[in-house]
């Protein structure tokens, strides 16, 4: 029962999408069913995103209560979660019942600070704290790639040498200064690189990988629909 019902649900949800491919949705009852199904999937899918948040809060709150090493940082994490989440969940007007109760206590001039709209606390925290930090975390990768280029990228074999030479040529081609440098040798070099390296060798390999991965995707999807693949259910 614990396994059979989910397998049946997966089969029905999957086969509905496969069958609907062959029928124009606006002309059949199946089409209406498909529309509802897709709407429901977007709703249920949304809840999966919040699952992780509960785990983060639980793990960090436990570390704070036990005063583990670095608990002050974990407290900052928990406070940040609530600082972002709570104002965004508050009503933005007194048009709802909860809104009426809320704005009988709080001045309605504060309404623009709540919710997720532009100008809210949520929006400000994202634009002035979260987003810059996210950009910076990824920007540090530039330093690591430079360090790796110096310390780890070695032409140990003919294949590795070919890889490095191609990389250097593409790095030159992709920047204005590099392109100007390449044109010193011949005006057509950038076009040849685009035509033969990118649209020739690179494209053919990428296509092979796309086809291979798609075959794997198709077979895995079929296994899930037919109930052969059940690892997504987890243990218990």
């Amino acid at each position: 029962m614990r396994t059979t019902v989910p397998v049946i649900v997966a089969f029905l949800a999957g086969i509905a999408m496969v069958i609907s491919f062959f029928f124009a949705p606006e002309r059949t009852i199946l089409g209406q069913f498909q529309e509802n199904l897709l709407q429901w999937v977007t709703i249920v899918g949304g809840f999966t995103l919040v699952l992780g948040v509960f785990s983060i809060v639980r793990v960090n709150a436990r570390a704070v209560s036990r005063r583990n090493d670095g608990w002050i940082y974990k407290l900052a994490t928990v406070v940040s979660v609530f600082a972002m989440a709570l104002p965004s969940m508050l009503p933005t007007s007194s048009s709802t019942t909860f809104g009426k109760i809320f704005y009988s206590i709080v001045p309605e001039s504060w309404a623009s600070a709540f919710g997720t709209n532009p100008g809210s606390i949520y929006d400000w925290l994202f634009n002035y704290l979260d987003s810059p930090m996210m950009e910076t975390m990824f920007a540090t990768l530039a330093f690591y790639i430079a360090s790796a280029a110096y310390r780890a990228f070695r032409a140990r074999s003919a294949e590795a040498t070919l890889l490095l030479i191609t990389a250097c040529i593409v790095m030159l081609w992709r920047v204005p200064m590099g392109e100007a440098f390449l044109r010193l040798f011949s005006d057509n070099i950038p076009e040849y690189i685009n035509a033969f390296v990118m649209k020739g060798f690179n494209m053919s390999v990428q296509r092979g990988i796309i086809i291979g991965a798609a075959l794997g995707m198709a077979s895995m999807s079929l296994r899930i629909i037919l109930g052969i693949e059940r690892t997504y259910m987890g243990k218990g």
Binding site: E35, T42, G45, R151, R154, R174, E179
Partner: protein
């Protein structure tokens, strides 16, 4: 330690410093080499430019804040292009971490410059989970998936959305993305519903997209900050991507130098080791 051993084991923080210098140097001493266009960027520009004025198009903000340096200039240049042709723009995002907020921020600021009115000239639908379901759902009815826009305004209260019911009302979709969502815009929306899709992707994803461009599944491609700079040139603006090209150039030359230097040190040390073993 010999000279080559010192060179091979240089503290990585010196390399970080060199990178930082290479990035900031062109900001002080501006060089501005001309940005050359690629056929793929020209193809994308032409596809949008050839649409009749006032066409309804979709612009997706399928990227995380982490890659905004590459993708935001693409979105801005695209919006300028679309608004200059009085196109009606419907935006959405399939990225739960920041996508809809970025869409809101970017479209409103650019729309203000062109005197465009929200709800009439552009709408931000926001975000819905499970992007494959979203892409399929928009084919039959946008309202079945997005019953309200990002701010919660019902679609029936937005004049533009009375004219846009599903993909049949959209002439072109420009996907600006830093992840695999563009693969699904191509393989679901273009392949199954026939809507032309153009792509603006990060440099990491760009090599893969050539396969789709050549197969005709993707109409035009912008790859990374250079792609954004190309589109800025085509649209006639000097944005952040164009400004960043000098730094990009210098760092690329630095990286090539580091690769060569590292390998020279490696082979010099290996040669010495072989000599020591043999003799």
């Amino acid at each position: 330690m010999s000279f080559w051993e010192k060179v091979a084991n240089i503290d990585r923080r010196w390399i970080y410093l060199l990178v930082a210098i290479a990035v900031f140097f062109p900001m002080i001493f501006i060089m501005q080499f001309p940005v050359e266009l690629t056929p793929e960027a020209q193809q994308l520009y032409n596809a949008i430019d050839n649409l009749p004025n006032g066409s309804i198009v979709m612009l997706t903000f399928d990227y995380y804040p982490s890659t905004m340096a590459e993708t935001r200039p693409m979105s801005i240049a695209a919006l300028r292009h679309m608004f200059s042709k009085d196109m009606k723009v419907v935006t959405l995002s399939n990225i739960p971490l920041g996508g809809p907020t970025i869409a809101e921020d970017v479209t409103r600021s650019i729309a203000k410059e062109y005197g465009k009115e929200y709800g009439i000239d552009y709408v931000n639908l926001g975000y819905r989970a499970n992007y494959t379901a979203v892409m399929h759902g928009l084919a039959s009815s946008i309202e079945s998936i997005f019953n309200a826009d990002f701010t919660g305004t019902p679609l029936k209260d937005l004049p533009l959305m009375q004219k846009v019911k599903n993909y049949n009302d959209i002439r072109f979709i420009l996907v600006v993305s830093d992840n695999a969502t563009i693969d699904y815009w191509i393989s679901i929306v273009n392949a199954q519903y026939g809507i032309p899709v153009g792509g603006g992707v990060t440099a990491v994803s760009a090599p893969k997209m050539y396969a789709f461009v050549e197969a005709g599944q993707l109409t035009g491609l912008l790859g990374g900050m250079k792609g954004a700079a190309e589109y800025e040139k085509l649209v006639g603006i000097k944005g952040t991507a164009t400004r960043g090209m000098d730094s990009q150039s210098l760092v690329h030359f630095l990286i090539i130098f580091l690769v060569i230097a590292g390998n020279v040190a490696f082979f010099a040390l290996r040669g010495r080791e072989k000599g020591r073993v043999n003799g």
